[in-house]
Amino acid sequence: MGKMHILIVDDDQIVLDSCKRVFEAEGFEVYLVSDAIKALEVLEHTTFDLLLVDVKMPEYDGIDLMRMIKKKWPQLPIILMSGYPTHETMEAGAQNGAAQFIDKPFTPEELIKTVRMVMKHEK
């Protein structure tokens, strides 16, 4: 398997930076965007192996984004991130085809573990 391409969508720069730092250390190719619209734009011309999407975002939130993506690229695995996981978001995420959930904050190990688990499952 070649280099992993991961798109990370979060409105908070520190989360993007953290993820980038962890994934680059693992040798992944990382693409960072701060909202759903930008994510959709990027997706139009770039292919990714995995998406890491924050649930709570202004305008379109993680769930909305996931719905839109799944319409066009149903096979694209998406991991939902949340600093405030509720029963409702988990349920909505699961129904719309989220591959996995990860609670913020997470350690680098937890993040890698989750990503690898999803990727393994996808194969």
């Binding site: 979060d10 908070d12 520190i14 989360v15 930076d17 953290s18 993820c19 730092r21 962890v22 250390a25 709570k56 600093g83 405030y84 996981p85 509720t86 029963h87 609670d103 913020k104 904050p105 997470f106 350690t107 680098p108 190990e109 993040l111």
Partner: protein
């Protein structure tokens, strides 16, 4: 209610007063009066005796005077010689000395020899029958006594006497119907003494006093007997000599203040005394007034009842005394009634005031004022009632305070829950992103080989403390998260048993006795078993933390009534430990998020807050009773309501 008690008191006092008053009036008015009357009747009987003595003495006096005269030799000589002139001189002197109204000599043959007065020597016209002298001639012995003298006799003796004797009969109330309109005969006290020369009768000396209009005897009786006793300007004592039923000599006065000569005795008395010849005493109407009287018949020298002797005491003074006594008694009665009313009123007021105050106080209590005033504590039995009431008030006040405090805590608690929940959600969300950064970069730094051990150690501390923050934020989120309940019908005893089972090993290691006594007959509850489990685990963990080796934790379940206003029925779980207890100032902070008394890093201060939220979402309550050094009891109350609702529904 208390007015009626007072009224009853007054009524009973009044009753007593009336009774006493009535008895007083009866005793005073009747018995006393009767006693007076009987006393007076006795007295008047004695007075009548005195009056009779005086009357008889007067007769005796006449007899003695005449007798003395007959013994004089000059008189005998003159009589023997029939010397009328000499005899008249002597008789005139005698009459003057002895106070005689008439005197004279009757010859052996029965004719009048001479007499004092205007007809000293009788003519045919003045020669009239002399009843007493004739009796003496017949019996040849001295005679004295009462004698009825005809108008002719009196006229012959002295026309003045006839005038004195003549009495016009006056109509008198209560007297027998009038027989004659004028009385011309007179009644006299007279004596006749035969004068003998040897055995030869020389003649008879007679003399006497006409009683008609004479006042000497009756006034003597009055003055002797009653000693000038007066009542309202009148002599209270009266005496009368009756000729038949006619007053001929009296000091009873008519309404004009004159002696009531010519008036007559009442028919009743007349029948008793004159007709039947009895003594009569009692109350009688005399002329125009009531007297206590005594009458007795007067017999003349022939033994015939010719008149009556009377004494009487004006009843008015006794009636007056009675009236005075009555008015005193009436006054006393009125005074005692007034006293009774006042006494009843004040006593009633005094007795009933504390009771009344208690009633008012109870009313106030029923309207929610638990500290009403009911006045000073009385020393009587009411004091006991007051004390009991005060004790009752104290416990009511305490209960009320507790209820208020509890409900205030609950209210504040649920407000706190809501606001803290919202705050926690926002804070947690914002903190988690920077925490991700800190965690990521700390861990990435730790992976580097080119750092010194000191730096690595410091970085580990940063990582550890960040982990701690992460944990706190997670608890905070747990607390604020409005997780949906997953309710099922479940046996609460099973939930408790599972939690106890999970904690058993920890308790064993610590050396604390952990016991569960499941209550019987507890209905199934509809609740989220997992959440309730975490509540129980949290309570048991807290209990274990509060206890040391040798202490005990006892869990019981049972039915219980809610501590709130609804007072609805539910199930209670008691978790009771014998641990260190909770400081009173900490009690109301117990369920606050982040409040903990445990050492730093050990407790998050969210366990009870989360538990509280869970129980509250089940419609239940958690309350705590604690005493420093003795331990604490956490009581979880869960409602039966839903269950009941279903039942009610199916039954319908």
């Amino acid at each position: 209610m208390f007015y009626s008690t007072r009224s009853k008191l007054i009524a009973s006092f009044l009753g007593v007063s009336f009774l006493v008053g009535a008895v007083s009036l009866f005793v005073g008015g009747h018995l006393l009066y009767k006693a007076f009357i009987s006393e007076t009747t006795n007295r008047i009987r004695l007075e009548l005796n005195t009056a009779r003595e005086i009357y008889l003495n007067r007769i005796k006096g006449v007899e003695v005077a005449l007798n003395t005269t007959t013994l004089g030799s000059g008189f005998r000589f003159a009589l023997k010689n029939q010397d009328a002139r000499e005899l008249i001189t002597r008789l005139t002197r005698l009459a003057q000395q002895a106070g005689l109204d008439f005197a004279g000599i009757v010859t052996r043959e029965g004719t009048t020899l001479c007499r004092i007065g205007p007809h000293p020597v009788p003519t045919r016209k003045t020669q009239v029958s002399n009843p007493i002298a004739h009796l003496t001639l017949k019996e040849r012995a001295p005679r004295s006594g009462t004698v009825v003298l005809s108008g002719e006799f009196l006229w012959a003796e002295n026309p003045g006497l006839a005038d004195r004797a003549m009495i016009r009969v006056l109509p008198t109330p209560r007297a027998a119907p009038i027989g004659e309109e004028e009385e011309t005969s007179g009644m006299a006290l007279a004596a006749a003494i035969p004068v003998f020369e040897g055995t030869k009768l020389l003649g008879v000396l007679y003399g006497g006093v006409l009683l008609n209009r004479d006042i000497s005897i009756v006034d003597q009786v009055r003055d002797t007997v009653f000693q000038y006793e007066m009542y309202e300007g009148r002599n209270i004592g009266t005496a009368t000599i009756f000729f038949k039923d006619l007053r001929i000599s009296t000091n009873v006065l008519n309404p004009d203040g004159e002696r009531a000569i010519g008036t007559r005795v009442s028919k009743e008395v007349s029948e008793h005394v004159l007709t039947a010849g009895e003594q009569w005493t009692g109350r009688a109407f005399v002329v125009n007034d009531w007297y206590i009287t005594a009458y007795e018949p007067i017999e003349d020298i022939f033994g015939e009842r010719v008149g009556m002797l009377y004494v009487g005491i004006l009843e008015a003074q006794y009636a007056d005394i009675r009236n005075k006594a009555l008015s005193v008694f009436i006054l006393l009665t009125i005074a005692s009634i007034a006293l009774a009313i006042m006494l009843g009123y004040f006593l009633g007021h005094k007795i009933m005031r504390p009771v009344h105050r208690l009633i008012e106080a109870s009313n106030e209590v029923s309207h929610g004022n638990f500290s009403p005033q009911f006045g000073p504590v009385s020393k009587s039995e009411i004091g006991v009632l007051q004390k009991t009431f005060a004790e009752m008030l104290t416990s009511l006040q305490e209960h009320d305070k507790r209820i208020k405090a509890e409900s205030e805590i609950k209210l504040v608690q649920s407000e706190k829950q809501a606001s803290v929940g919202r705050l926690a959600a926002g804070v947690a969300h914002e903190i988690n992103n920077p925490l991700t950064g800190i965690l990521t970069f700390t861990h990435m730094l730790l992976k580097r080989k080119d750092i010194s051990d000191d730096v690595r150690s410091d970085l580990r501390t940063v990582a550890q403390q960040t982990e701690r923050v992460r944990k706190i934020v997670k608890s905070l989120l747990d607390f604020s998260r409005q997780t949906e309940l997953n309710p099922k019908q479940i046996d609460i005893n099973r939930v408790v048993s599972t939690a106890v089972l999970l904690m058993r090993n920890q308790a064993l290691v610590k050396g604390v006795s952990l016991k569960f006594k499941p209550g019987e007959g507890i209905p199934l509850l509809t609740l989220d078993a997992n959440q309730m489990q975490s509540v129980l685990l949290n309570l048991l963990l807290n209990a274990l933390d509060a206890t040391k080796r040798g202490d005990s934790i006892n869990i019981t379940t049972g039915m219980g009534i809610a501590g709130n206003e609804d007072r609805s029925m539910g199930v209670e779980i008691h978790v009771k430990d014998t641990g260190c207890g909770i400081l009173p100032e900490n009690l109301d902070k117990l369920f606050d998020p982040f409040f903990t008394t445990k050492e730093v890093g050990r407790g998050t201060g969210l366990g009870l807050a989360v538990s509280y939220g869970i129980v509250q979402r089940h419609g239940g309550t958690i309350r705590v009773q604690s005493e420093i050094g003795k331990g604490s009891t956490f009581i979880v109350w869960l409602p039966l309501e839903e269950h009941h609702g279903e039942n009610a529904h199916t039954h319908r």
